[in-house]
Subunit: 471 residues, 4 copies
C-alpha cells in the first residue's frame, strides 16, 4: 500500500522447549512487520523416530493460527517463517517452512534472503532430474541437501549445499535430530541467538526474544553455521573462513522494528541519530517537525532534538487498516493515503513544516502526502529523508522496484522536489548515514544507495522457464 | 485488552449522495476506534415507495464489509453504526442500526449514548404489549416512535419520544423520506454536520469527514433536532428550549481521535495542553518523557515541551494486534501487555523516566507496565496521568467498571503509587484539566472525575427481567 | 431447482429432556426435507429465573450447527424450526424460532402455516404502535401474545391470540415454564406428539421420532392446544370446539417423507396405492415403469405392481447435489435437470416407458425430462401423475406459483401432453386419490386440486407496505 | 460412514475445448461418488509458452469450487481428480492433480490406482537425491518422468516411467503440448474416451460424459498409452504389447454409478443380473425384497423380478447427509445407521423380508441394520449379498481393511449369519457373479473374492520411513 521497499521474511527457531510451536508462533507474531503474506510453523517430535508436523497459511500470523490448537504441532523443536509476497509468488506452495523427505530423513527449511544464481541452479537441478513444485528459491536448498554426499555428518550436507549457492541468506534447516542456523558469508540478512528456559531460540530480530521472554545471547555470525543437537551440544562452523561482514544497512533505515537490536545496535537509537545528522546537514527554519508515521517517527524525533524545532504529530494514523477498502466510484481524493493517514489540519494550518520520512521509492505516495498536507493548510513543506537516495534495486532478499521505477535513479534531487511539490527536499548523505550508525562505509551493504554490490550479481536474470505454473 | 474506559459507539449519516452506503461505510471505518464489536449500514432508496436495505455483522468494519458489494445497499441515503460490546450484549440482534416497520412506515435508528430510565421504559412498554427482541436500549426508541400520535409531522414522533426518555444520546433516525440527527439537551455525546457533493454528512467525529472529503459545517447543537428532507430542506428544532450544554470531557481525555474536532476543539491540541498543565503542576527531574502509546502520546509531547525533558518512545507498539493470541501454558511474564507493547531497553536502561498515560482505571495494566519498564532497566519511574482520578462510573453511554473496581475511588494517590510500584504518581488537577480545555468547569460533564452528574441518575438500576434471552 | 410445490417448514419441540437442544437439532435434521433455507433452536433453562438460549442460521441444519457446541444451548426444553424461503423472505431476521421479551416473560415461537389475515393483522398492530422487525407472519403471533390480557393463565394468552388469527398453522409456543403445541381448527398442517426418556417430543413428522428413538403417542388434534408444564402436567384444550378436520392432502402426494406417519397413515403405503389407482384408471402397454426420483418412486412401484409392467430405474439421481453449479458459457443441453438426474440409456433404448411423477406444477422441468428421455432412446413415453392436476395455489403455508403459472390451470390435459412432448398423459382422478387414502373427499383440504378452500381466503392480498425492508 | 470398500479416485481430462476447466469440474462432479475428500483441476493455456493454472482443495467438488471463477483456470486443456482419503493421507499436499516443473517443462498428473512397488521406488529415488513433499505414490510418477532420458519424444518419458512401476493405474499426464491417457497392462482401473465439440474427453466413468453431453467413443485399452496433441493428432501406443485384460470386478459390484458404462457393460444391468442369479441360487419364501439403499437397489430389483417376491422400500434414506452429526451424550441406539437410513415400520411389521446388499465388509453396519429391522417389526430377515464373500484386501487402489478385519475371511457363512442376527444369509457364488457379467472367470480381477492377484503383490510393505511428515 505504501511506497516502500519490502522486507521479505522473518525466521524463528525453537530448540528444546516444551512448547516449541507455540513459542515459534509468538516469535513470528513479534516479527509480523517483516512479512504479512504467509506464515508457517513446522514442529519436530523426537521419539523412536522423528515426526514433523506442519501448519501453514496465507495472511497474517493471527489469521493463519486463529483458534489454532497447538497440540497439533507437538514436539520440543520448531521453526517458523513469515513472508512477504509479490503477485508472481502468491501461492500456498511457496509459504515456508518448506519440508520434504530426502535421503537424510525428513527436513524442514526456512529462508530469508535471495540466491543470485537461483535460475542457474534451478535449471541445472531440473536438468539432473529434479522436480520443482514451487517457485521460491528456497526449494533449491531442499534439492541441494537431497543430493549431498551420503553417509556424512549432516553438517556436511549443509556445507555442500552452501558451496553451490551464491547470494544472501539467513537460513534455518531442521533435521530429525538437529537444527542448523546459518548466515551467508557477508551476513547480509540478520539472525540472532537467544536462550529460553534452557532451550535455544533463533530469530531475525530480538523483538521476538522480548515477547517470549528469551535472553539475547549473540548474533549468528556472518558465515557461521550453528548446529544445535538434541543432546544439548552446540557447535559452530565457519566452513568458508571469516568473511568481511557486510550486513544490510536498510534494516536500520526501515525494515527492523525500532525496539530490536540488529547487528549489535539498537534500531531506535540509530534512526534517531539519522534524524540528527539530517538536521545538521542542511538546516531549515520551520514551525514543526512532522514524522510520516510510523517509520519516520524516530528520525523526526532526532531531527527535532538536533534542530530545536518542535516535534509534532501532523499526520494521524488509522490503526484499523488491513484488507483492501471499497472506495466509492466517485473517487475520493488521495484515498489510498487517507485510509491510513489523516493530516491534523488544526495543527498544520498556516505552518511551515519539516516532514521526515525514511525513504522515497517511486515518489507516488509522497507526492499525494505533500498535496494532502498543503490542502490541510501547511504553508511550507520541507521534505527530509533520513537516508540517501535509493538508486539501485536490491538482489539480496528485498522486494524493490526495478531501477527505472526508482525516482532517485532517474531524477535529480531538484527534479524530485519539483515532482513531489515540496518547498525543499534533502536526503541524508552517505557520510551522515555512517556517522549515525557509528561505522565506516565498508562495513555494510548499501548497494541500494551506492550500486556497490558486495556479492556480485552478474547479469541478474530470471529462470528461462518455457512453461510456467500459476498456482 | 487494556485498562481503559470504552467508548460505546460512533454514528454516521449520509443524506442525498449517489453512493450513500459506501460513504457511510468509510465514515464508520474512520471512526472504528469508537467501537470494534459490530458494524452496520442501512440504506434508503427513494422511489415510488421507500425501500430500506441493511447489512450488519459482528466485528470490525473491514471484516463485516469484506468484499461487500455496495450495490446491495442502493439509494441516496444511509446511516451507519459501530459498537463496542460487553459480554451481556454480545449479540447480532443488538448490532445497529436497528430497523422496523411502524405506523409511520419503515424506520432505521442508530444511537450513541445511554438512557437512564431504560429499565422503567422497557417495563412500561412491555406492560403495554410491546415485544423486545434485543437487549440494547435503542430498541426503546423504536417503540416510542411507533407509539407516537398518528397523522402528525414526523418530527412530532421524534419529539414525543424524546419527551419520555431521560439520558444521554446522540441519535440518527431515518424515515422513508427524511433523516433526523439529534443530541440530548446536554449534548453529552458528540455529533457534527458536514457537507459532501451537495449532500449532507453527519458523524460523531470529524475524522470521518476528513476521510471522505466532506467539509465540516458545525456541530449538531445540544438539544437540537435537525431534519433533512429529500427536497433539500433543512430544518432545526429545539423542542426543549436551549439547555446548558454539558458535553463529555472524557472525549478529550481518551475517546476521540486526536485529529478530530470535538465540541469545537482540536483533540490533539487539547491533549497536548493537558500534558503541559500536568508538567506545571508538580515538576520532576528525569531523563525522558515516555508516552504509553497511543493515547498517551499527545499529552506526553505537551509534557515534554513544557518541562524541557526530552520526549522519547520507550514503549514500542506492535501494530498487528487484533484477535486473541494463544499463550503457552508455561505462561509468559506480563503476556497481556507485551503482546501490544515492548519496552525499548536500550533506551531505558539506567534512566529516570516520566511515563505519561491518559487514565488509570483499575490499575492492573499499569502495574504490569511499571514492572516491565523496571525489568527493562528504568531507574526511576514517575507516572503522570493527563486527567484527574476516575472515581465514578459513567451512565451516559460509556462502559466503565463499577465504582468498587475504580482504583482511584478506593485508594489515595499515595496508595495507588505504591500499588503500581511507581516512584511517584501525579494526576492532572480539575483546574489543570479545564485550563487545558480553556473552559470553565460547569461547561462539561466530568462526572467520572467529580461524581457530579448533570442528568440525574437516581438509583441506577437494571431491568428486573425475571426471564432472560441470551442470544 | 425442481418444479414442485415447496413445503415451508418443520417444527420440533422437546420438553423435559436432559439434552433437549441436541435432540431438537436431530429432529430438525430428520425433517430437513421440509425446509432447507434456515434452521434454529431455542433452548430454555429453568432455574430461579428462566433463561432462553438461541442459535439460528441460514442454510441446512448440518451447516448451521456445524461443529456446534450444544453446551451453548443448555436446559431441559427446546424448540426448533427449519424453513424454506422465497426471495422476498430470505433474511436472517425471518429464521425461526422467533423470540421476544413480552409481558408474560420471555417467549419463543415456531410456526408452520400461513395466516390468511396476516396483512390486516399487521396493519392493525402497526396502527396500534407495534414494531415489526421481520416480514414473516410468525411475528404477528408474538405481538398478539404480547397484547393478551394481563394476569391470566398463559393458556389464555394463546387462546386470545388464536381468536384473532385466521389461517392454517401448527405452532409451538415456549414460555419460561411451559410449552404449548397446537394446530388450527382444521388441522391443515401436521403435528404429532411423542415420548422420549420420560419427556415429550413434538414434531411435524414421525420420522423425527424414529431418528431420536422416541415413541409415537398420537397427533396433536385439529383445534387442540396442548400445554406441557414443568411439573409434568399435560393439559389439552379445545378452545374453539371440535372442528371438522381438513388436513392437507398434498402431504401424502409430495411433502412428507415416505417413512413418516402423517394424519394417521403411512405415507409410503398411501403413495403406493396412488400408483395402483393410477394404473387402474387408464391402462397402457409399456416395457417399463420408470419413477422420477425420489418422490415418484412409491407411486411408480404401486403402478408397476398393479399393472404388472416391470419397475425399473431409468433415471439415476446424483446424490451430491446442493449448491449451484457453474455451467460453461457454451451451455450444456438441459443442464438444470442433468445435474440431478441422468437417464440410463442402456436400459431405455428403444423401449416404451411409463414415467411416474407425483405432480406437474409449471411443466418446465417435466418437458426437459421428456426430451432427455427421448434423446436417451425411449420410444414411447407415457406420463402418469399420481395426483390430480394442480389448478389452484395454496394459501395455507405452501409456496406455490400463482394460478397463471400452473400449467393445469391454463391448459387441458391434451394440451399439456403436447407441451410436454409425451405420447400420453394421465393424472390420477380425485376419486382415485381418495380411494388411495381410503377416505372420503370432505375429510381433507384439496384446494390445490379443487379450488375448494376450507378456510375462506377472501381476496388474498399482501400487506400494502408503502415502505419495505430488504434485510 | 458405511461398511464398504472405498473407491479411491476418479479422473477427468479435457483436450481442446474452449471451456476445458469448467468441463473438467463438471466431469468431476458427475464422478463425485468415487472420492469425496479432495478435488482439483489443472488447466493448460497454450501460447508462446505453456502456462499451467491450478485449483485444489479438500472436500466435495461443489465446496472446493464454490463460487469459483473459471477464468482463473484458462486454456483449452485441463485434467481433474477427486480422491478418497484415509487418516494417514489427509493432507492438501496429497490432493491431485500434482504438478511440477521438470526437465521436459511443466507437467501435471492425475492418478487412479496403486503402485505395488511404491515403497521401493520411493526409497530408491530418495537415495538418488529426490525430494518428496507428499505421501501419495503419484509423486513417484513425477520423479520418474523427471528422470527420463533427455531429448526424446515425450511419450518416451512416459514409457520409461511405466517400465519401472509395478501396479494398477489409470493415469493422465498433461505436458505443455500434449495429454497422455493410459491404463496399466491389466486395465485394472477404468478409463474411457469421449468426444465433445471437436475436442476429447477422458473420464473414469461414462456418467461424466452424460452430464457434459460428450459422446462415448471407447475405453482406453488395457496397456494403451494414448497421446493427444495440440495439432489434433491422436496416437496410440502399446509399449508392453497386448496384455490379458483383468479389470476390477468390484466396479460392477459397488463402485461405479449404475448409469455408467464400465468395461463395456451397463452397470445397472449387470447389478440387476447379479440379483437375478442370487435369487436362483438359493430361493427363499418371503413377503418382500428390500434393498439396502442405494447400492443394493438394482440387485434387489433383479432379485424381485426373478423370484416374484415384491420389491419394496423398507429402508428410507435421508438425503441430507454429509458432515458429521452431533449425537447426544445419552446415546441414541444405532445412531450411525439411523442418521442415514430409517426403517419403514408400517411396511415391515410382521413381515418376512429378503434384504439385498452388495457387500459385507466388517459386518458392523449390517449387524445394526438387522437389529434395526427387527425392532421395526420384521419377522424374518433373509440377508442376500449380490457378490461373493470379500475375503482378501485390494492392493490396486481401493481402500479395504486388512484381512483380519474382513468378516468373511475369518468366519464361515453360518457364523456370519449368527453374528449379524439374520435368519438366513446367502452370498452370490463366483459362478453366479460371472454369469451375471456374462463373462468367464479369467477375464477380471476378483482378488478380493478369490485371493488371486493378477499383478503379484509380493510381501506388500510400506515405506520404512524412519521419519515422517504429518502435514
Amino acid at each position: 500500500m505504501f511506497d516502500k521497499f519490502n522486507e521479505e521474511c522473518a525466521l524463528v527457531g525453537v530448540w528444546n522447549h516444551l512448547e516449541a510451536a507455540n513459542i515459534a508462533y509468538l516469535g513470528l507474531h513479534a516479527q509480523q512487520h517483516r512479512g504479512q503474506a504467509g506464515a508457517g510453523v513446522v514442529s519436530l517430535e523426537n521419539g523412536e523416530r522423528a515426526r514433523f508436523y506442519a501448519h501453514r497459511g496465507q495472511g497474517l500470523v493471527a489469521d493463519v493460527f486463529n483458534d489454532f490448537d497447538f497440540s497439533r504441532l507437538p514436539g520440543r523443536a520448531a521453526i517458523g517463517h513469515v513472508r512477504y509476497t509479490t503477485a508472481e509468488t502468491a501461492s500456498l506452495a511457496n509459504v515456508q517452512p518448506l519440508q520434504a523427505e530426502i535421503s537424510m530423513g525428513c527436513v524442514a527449511i526456512a529462508h530469508n534472503g535471495n540466491l543470485i544464481n537461483a535460475a542457474e541452479l534451478r535449471e541445472k537441478l531440473i536438468g539432473d532430474g529434479a522436480i520443482f513444485g514451487a517457485t521460491t528459491d528456497t526449494e533449491i536448498f531442499l534439492h541441494l541437501l537431497a543430493r549431498s554426499p551420503k553417509n556424512v555428518p549432516k553438517v556436511e550436507t549443509i556445507i555442500t549445499a552452501l558451496e553451490q549457492v551464491h547470494g544472501a541468506y539467513s537460513l534455518l534447516v531442521m533435521y530429525g535430530d538437529r537444527l542448523f542456523a546459518l548466515r551467508d558469508a557477508y551476513g547480509i540478512r540478520p539472525l540472532c541467538l537467544g536462550k529460553l528456559d534452557g532451550g535455544w531460540i533463533v530469530a531475525s530480530e530480538t523483538c521476538a526474544f522480548d515477547l517470549i521472554g528469551a535472553d539475547y545471547v549473540r548474533e549468528i555470525e556472518a558465515g557461521e553455521v550453528l548446529e544445535l543437537s538434541m543432546d544439548g551440544k552446540v557447535k559452530s562452523y565457519f566452513p568458508f573462513g571469516m568473511a568481511k561482514e557486510r550486513p544490510c544497512v536498510f534494516e536500520y533505515v526501515y525494515f527492523a522494528r525500532p525496539d530490536s537490536l540488529v547487528f549489535g545496535r539498537n534500531v531506535y537509537a540509530v534512526r534517531k541519530r539519522m534524524g540528527r545528522e539530517l538536521a545538521k546537514e542542511l538546516p531549515v527554519e520551520a514551525d514543526y517537525v512532522i514524522p510520516v508515521p510510523d517509520s519516520g517517527v524516530p528520525a523526526a524525533l532526532g531531527y527535532s532534538q538536533e534542530s530545536g524545532i518542535p516535534f509534532e504529530f501532523g499526520l494521524i494514523r488509522n490503526h484499523y487498516v488491513g484488507r483492501t477498502f471499497i472506495e466509492p466510484k466517485q473517487a475520493i481524493r488521495d484515498f489510498g493515503v487517507k485510509i491510513k493517514l489523516n493530516p491534523n489540519s488544526d495543527l498544520l494550518d498556516g505552518k511551515s513544516i519539516v516532514v521526515v520520512d525514511d525513504s522515497i521509492v517511486r515518489g507516488t505516495t509522497c507526492r499525494k502526502l505533500v498535496k494532502m498536507l498543503r490542502q490541510a493548510g501547511a504553508r511550507q513543506i520541507h521534505l527530509r529523508v533520513s537516508a540517501p537516495p535509493t538508486i539501485d534495486p536490491c538482489f539480496y532478499g528485498i522486494d524493490t522496484p526495478q531501477k527505472s521505477d526508482l525516482i532517485a535513479a532517474n531524477k535529480s534531487v531538484e527534479e524530485i522536489k519539483e515532482y513531489l511539490g515540496a518547498d525543499s527536499l534533502v536526503y541524508l548523505s552517505m557520510e551522515g548515514l555512517y556517522r549515525a550508525i557509528n561505522s565506516d562505509k565498508t562495513s555494510f551493504c548499501d548497494a541500494c544507495f551506492s550500486g556497490k554490490y558486495p556479492i556480485s550479481v552478474g547479469k541478474p536474470r530470471s529462470h528461462k522457464q518455457q512453461e510456467l505454473f500459476n498456482v
